[in-house]
Every structure is written in structure tokens, then in C-alpha cells.
Symmetry: C2
Subunit: 339 residues, 2 copies
């Protein structure tokens, strides 16, 4: 039996990039056995340093990157067949990911995206680039990671029309609202505590003002539901101005507030919003705690489907990226047969 | 563009079979548009009567079946390319479905199974038949219908090792335990009430003694996790002997009992059991009510993933069968390209 070689490059080598590299290397025997494919990690790079080896990097080499080996041209030169992009996310500029993804898709290289920035900033352009070049563009890692979201629409609810989507997609706001509700502390105190515990960033506005939720919602809409939304189409409210009185009122009514991203279909197009919704205790959404995420999808024929995910990071996000890799291998095995 | 024709037959024409036929016919434009396939319903039959037309049956014809048109030979003669089996389920004999499914798989015909009986009775034989003939065998409708179960393992958690599965898979026991807990009535009273309301069968033992849950669990294990379990390998306990004292104790401890099917991996093989587990209110499983179903899958890399489904029957089950149809069309489109 002929063993095909698939050369993988990873751009963005922080926690998720490294976890993805290690998980990939640990699954090489699986890829050979299930897909008949020899997977090699031929390049990995962060913003300033990297490493490449056409014979495939081993886990022991990943500790010592070389300065200057970075950037789209470095990935091009590595001869990679497939790119996994896991760099820092910036939806206002597209971040460093945009250059890597553009370069890969233009060359017809299958691309798995983990960071949200480029997909939010230039999603529609990237979708078109992929269609034109025939490259596959997968992005589970950017659309709530291990929580199945686009998977549900693409696979589990196949054939149904999605009428409505609601998601609890951000851990920090989940943690903060939980602290405010259960321990009666205010937003500022909860935030300071979360920052000390490492559950909130030094500049927490991307989470607390709803932008992170908005990014995931937009990616889900544009790549899972074929919408054409930009950030300007979204109404985005965060949790930063929730008052003690509002917390007290929810508690009195037995409701639990969550920061929720929602998509609603009307006349064939989706409208999108991020804001607080309060749920009764009997609703599974009321019991989504801390780092867990959840999505509720309502369709015409299958009613309501809820998924709840609670994987540990960065492993769960790495596993989401490598789920995409297996979907690419499956699709390419079919295409390969037809050549 | 060349339009391929796919001829579909439906065996078993009760509520689910009919709902499947109607949904299939209503989606013909979608099949043409998305898959470039002209789907025709060329045959449909119940246990004694049926109808066939090579040009495709219309919804208006489905009210008047002709006596005597039934059985595997009738389906063979219809020239169907694909069988959807939705007959009555009997796991002790395999039910009428077994003959239909055997006949279709032996002939290399792709088969979508909705009823559980044959899959539980002769699952391993049918799995082998399909492998030998190259037919695709799909069974979402039999594995908790609109609730994604095998989908999650096959697609959303791809690449991960499943360590544990827990499912609330039976509506009747859910309803009965709920009535006993929230209204303090005993099993017999709850059952009579459920029977009067149409939520329990006249002979309810298949549900109350745990066999229905066991069937779904077995199908999930053998077809989703590649196990080789038979009913004899399962420990099956129902809810028929739950006492008022036990109900009272759970209530005192703030726990909610559910009839749960579980699979646990140890040393590479799964052990399976059906029995009552009691959950704290903060667990999403505690809030699964009435006709809803839920599954929790624990994997090595993605942690815990929960899905909750609450579609209306028989439409949701029909939609599950037709999700399988789209997966078959996708797989066959890839194979078709390679011919």
C-alpha cells in the first residue's frame, strides 16, 4: 500500500500552537493506520522564531526555535501541504494570522484556522479565496473550539433549516457573572479577583464588552450558516455596566444571567446580537459554569439541539484543530481517489 | 450538468415511515440543488400493503396503498438504490426489519435504519454484510434519532478516544421519574397516568425495565464505538421497583434520578449498563425533562461534551433518517467522482 505524505506547518506557536504540535505528533500512528497518511510537522513558527525540517520535526526539537525563521514566506519555503494557523487574534486588523492564511489559501493549500482575528476581519475574502483556489478552509478552533457548533449545522442537523442560534461562548464573562450572582460582589471586584486568578486579561474589554462572543458568533454565521455579516451588522452589549440592582432582581426572580450571542433568521437572512439573557434554573443554559461553553440551535425539523463543552485548554482547542485535520484528510482521500 | 437519479424505498410505513416520505418529497428541490441528484420515492410499504412507481410516488398517492405489495422481494423489484427501514422494532426476533435490511445490504444497497430491533438482534452480522458488499449502513434514527450521538463520535470528536458515555435515552422513564419526584405519586399511579396521556405503552415493560435504553446503548456501542456487545453483556435495571422511600431520599438530598445507559472503557473494551443515576440540580442531566434526550461523552482530549435534543416526533426521527441520506449522498458523490 502506498503511503501518502502530508506536510503540516504550524504558524503561531503559543500555548495552543505547541499543544497542537504535540498532539499531532502523538497521533502519527493513528494517521497512518486510519488514513494511510504519513503526517510530518515540517515547520513551526511564532512571531519571531521557528524551525523547519522536511523529514519532520520531533517533539524534542520544539523547545529550541531559531530566530528569524517566521512569516508567510518561511512557511511557503517549508513545502507544507497544509497550514494550521494558531497565532494571536486581532479582529480589528486581522492580526498576523491574516498574512499566513491569505498566502496559504492563495496557493491552494488546505488551511485550518484557530485564531479568530483574520476570520472576523476578512472572513468573506478568505472564504472566496478558498473557493477560487480549491483549498479547504476549516475553523473549528476559532468557532468555540471543542464545543461543536459548525459541526452540528454541517453534519448532525444536515438537511434542516436553522431558525435560531444562541450561544454562551465566552469563559471570562461566565466566570464574572457567576461570581456576581453567587457571591454578591460587584463587577469591579469580580474582575479584580478574576485577573488575580488568571481568568481575565489585564485589559479585559475584549471579553467583558462582548467582542470575543461577537467574533465567534460572526464566524459561526459566516462560515456555518453562509451569512455575510460584518461586525457593523451586530448589536454588541457586554457585562461591564451590570448593576448590583440588576443582579439582585435576577436573583429574586430565580433567573441566571449569561452573556449570549444570538442569531435569528427572518426572511432568509440572519440578524445577530450579543447581550445578556437571563434563564430560569430549569434551562440548561442557567447551569453553564466557569469555563464551559454552550450552544442551542433551533431548526425546522429537529427542534432544539443543545451542546455543552467543557474541555481543558489548550488541549481541547488543539484537539478541535486536529479534528479539522481529519475532516480534511477524509475529504482529500475522496478527492485523491478521483485523480 | 448530468442529473443522477437515486431511487429510494421505504419499508415500514407507520408514523415515522410516513413522516420520512413526506419530508423526503418536500426536500426534492434541495437534493437537486445541493447534490445534483434527482431523488425519487419509488416504493413504500407497510406490513401488508404498499405502492411502487419507478417514476416516483407523490405525496397524494401515499394515502392509498395496495394490499399484498410488501416484503423484501417487493422492495427488490422496485429497483430502489437505497432503502429506508422504519418498521416496528423487536430486538428479541429482529422484527420485520431484519429481512428488509439483510436483503438490501446483501445486494450492496445503501441502507438507512430507523428501527432498533434488527440492529440489536443481528447488528454484528449486518455490519459485516455491509462491509462485504460495500453498502453504506446508517442508523441515526435508531440511535436516539434527532439527538446527535454517533455523529458526535464520528465527526465532532474525531480523533479523540472516547472514555465514557452516559445517556438519557428513553422518554417514558423520564416522564415517570419526573412525575414521581415532582408530584410524589408512586410508580403504578404515574404509569397509569402516563398510559392515559399516551406517554406510555399498554405493555410498558420495554421502556420501564430499561430495554429500550439498552437497545440504543448497544447500537451506539457497536456502530459508533466499534464494540462487539450483545444484550447478554449488559447489566439492565429499570425503574419499575423504585420505592417511595428512595424517591424521598433523593428529594431530601437535592438529587434528580434518571434512567441512564452508560458505557465505560477499561483496557480497550467497553462495559455497558442501564440503571438509575441521581444527579445534583447543577448537572444538565438533572434538567432533562419529559420527551427530551441527552448524552454525555467524555474523551481524552476534549473533556466532556453534552448534547441535548428535544425535537417533536415523528418529524425529528424522519429528519434524522434524512440526515443519514445526505451523508450517504455526500459519500456517494465522492465515490461517483472516482469512477
Amino acid at each position: 500500500m502506498q503511503m501518502r505524505t502530508v506536510r503540516v506547518a504550524i504558524a503561531g506557536f503559543g500555548g495552543v500552537g505547541r499543544a497542537t504540535a504535540c498532539l499531532l505528533l502523538s497521533r502519527r500512528a493513528r494517521y497512518r493506520q486510519v488514513y494511510g497518511v504519513d503526517i510530518r510537522l515540517v515547520a513551526a513558527c511564532g512571531s519571531r522564531a521557528g524551525l523547519s525540517d522536511d523529514r519532520g520535526l520531533g517533539e524534542d526539537q520544539l523547545g529550541a526555535l531559531e530566530d528569524g525563521l517566521s512569516g508567510p514566506a518561511f512557511i511557503e519555503a517549508s513545502g507544507a501541504d497544509l497550514l494550521i494557523e494558531a497565532g494571536p487574534s486581532d479582529f480589528r486588523t486581522g492580526g498576523p494570522g491574516l498574512g499566513y492564511i491569505r498566502s496559504a489559501l492563495s496557493a491552494g493549500r488546505d488551511t485550518i484556522v484557530v485564531s479568530k482575528g483574520a476570520l472576523v476581519h476578512s472572513g468573506i475574502e478568505l472564504r472566496q479565496l478558498a473557493r477560487r483556489s480549491g483549498a479547504l478552509l476549516k475553523l473549528s478552533g476559532a468557532a468555540a473550539a471543542a464545543l461543536p457548533t459548525i459541526d452540528l449545522v454541517d453534519h448532525s442537523l444536515k438537511g434542516c433549516t436553522v431558525l435560531k442560534v444562541e450561544g454562551i461562548l465566552n469563559a471570562t464573562t461566565n466566570y464574572l457573572l457567576d461570581a456576581m450572582m453567587t457571591r454578591g460582589i460587584g463587577f469591579d471586584a469580580a474582575l479584580r479577583e478574576a485577573q488575580l486568578g488568571g481568568f481575565a486579561e489585564t485589559d479585559p474589554r475584549n471579553d467583558t464588552e462582548g467582542w470575543d462572543t461577537a467574533c465567534k458568533l460572526l464566524i459561526l454565521a459566516n462560515f456555518g450558516l453562509d451569512a455575510d455579516l460584518t461586525m457593523n451588522d451586530l448589536t454588541v452589549e457586554g457585562i461591564q455596566s451590570v448593576s448590583g440592582e440588576r443582579i439582585e432582581a435576577w436573583r429574586r426572580e430565580g433567573l441566571v444571567p449569561k452573556l449570549v450571542g444570538s442569531l435569528t433568521r427572518a426572511d432568509g437572512t440572519f440578524s445577530a446580537a450579543v447581550g445578556i439573557k437571563a434563564y430560569p434554573l430549569s434551562d440548561p443554559f442557567a447551569n453553564i459554569r466557569g469555563k464551559d461553553k454552550a450552544i442551542r440551535i433551533v431548526t425546522d425539523a429537529m427542534g432544539e439541539t443543545i451542546a455543552i463543552g467543557s474541555g481543558k485548554e489548550p488541549l481541547a482547542t488543539a484537539a478541535a484543530a486536529l479534528k479539522d485535520l481529519e475532516h480534511v484528510l477524509t475529504a482529500r482521500a475522496a478527492a485523491h481517489l478521483s485523480e
